[in-house]
Symmetry: C2
Subunit: 129 residues, 2 copies
């Protein structure tokens, strides 16, 4: 049995082997991280990724539930399941018009997660430590 | 027992009750949707959201594993678990320097998901149907 560390190990082999000074970066607030993770979780499925893109490209970001299953080759119950996940994460609004439900993308929700992903990497201004 | 439909139901009560003409939007390619969903899945956890933000704000987008557990109040094994998820999704690189592993955010991966979230909603130019 080998005792060599796996390439991704984070455990030092000797105590006190500190590589660099400590940092003092400000962490993202826990509740904000939890909100973002909920939205990312709603998008952690290829069908929901495609549904969101389909809605966004439709006129006014709105599509009727009657068109969605055919486009994605899914059943109505499967559609309901996925749309509920997107709705619960705040990514879409739903609106009953007569006998059908229409779904509309909420651009402000997209903006919120996009804002997080605008993390600036490797620039002098973004350095906190 | 009520027979009224739930507000999110997508099932029409009568056949042929079509609300609007069919659409002809182009769907996102399935393999691209799967790739994006994998990245979103890696971010579907508040600790990983905070780790990514912490790394991005560190100098050169890099931080040593020795600082991360203290900042997030997690153990080294928990850190390894989360960093492996971020690494497997292509969001960070890892680099062993002496006895410690350094992690670096990959800006091109952030750009890829940000590009998807740049979905244009409710503009004349984005209408495909």
């Amino acid at each position: 049995m080998s005792t060599s560390a796996a390439p991704w190990t984070d455990v030092p082999s000797t105590i006190g082997d500190v590589c660099c000074p400590g940092t003092d970066c400000e962490l993202l607030a826990k509740d904000r991280a939890e909100d973002l993770a909920l939205v990312f979780k709603a998008l952690a499925d290829p069908t929901r990724v495609r549904l969101l893109q389909y809605l966004a490209e439709a006129e006014s970001g709105t599509a009727c539930a009657c068109h969605l299953p055919a486009a994605l080759e899914i059943s109505q119950p499967t559609l309901s399941f996925h749309m509920r996940k997107l709705h619960d994460a705040g990514l879409v609004d739903r609106d009953k018009r007569g006998r059908w439900v229409h779904y509309t993308v909420r651009p402000e929700s997209l903006q919120r997660v996009r804002g997080f992903l605008d993390l600036q990497v490797d620039t002098a201004t973004s350095r906190c430590c």
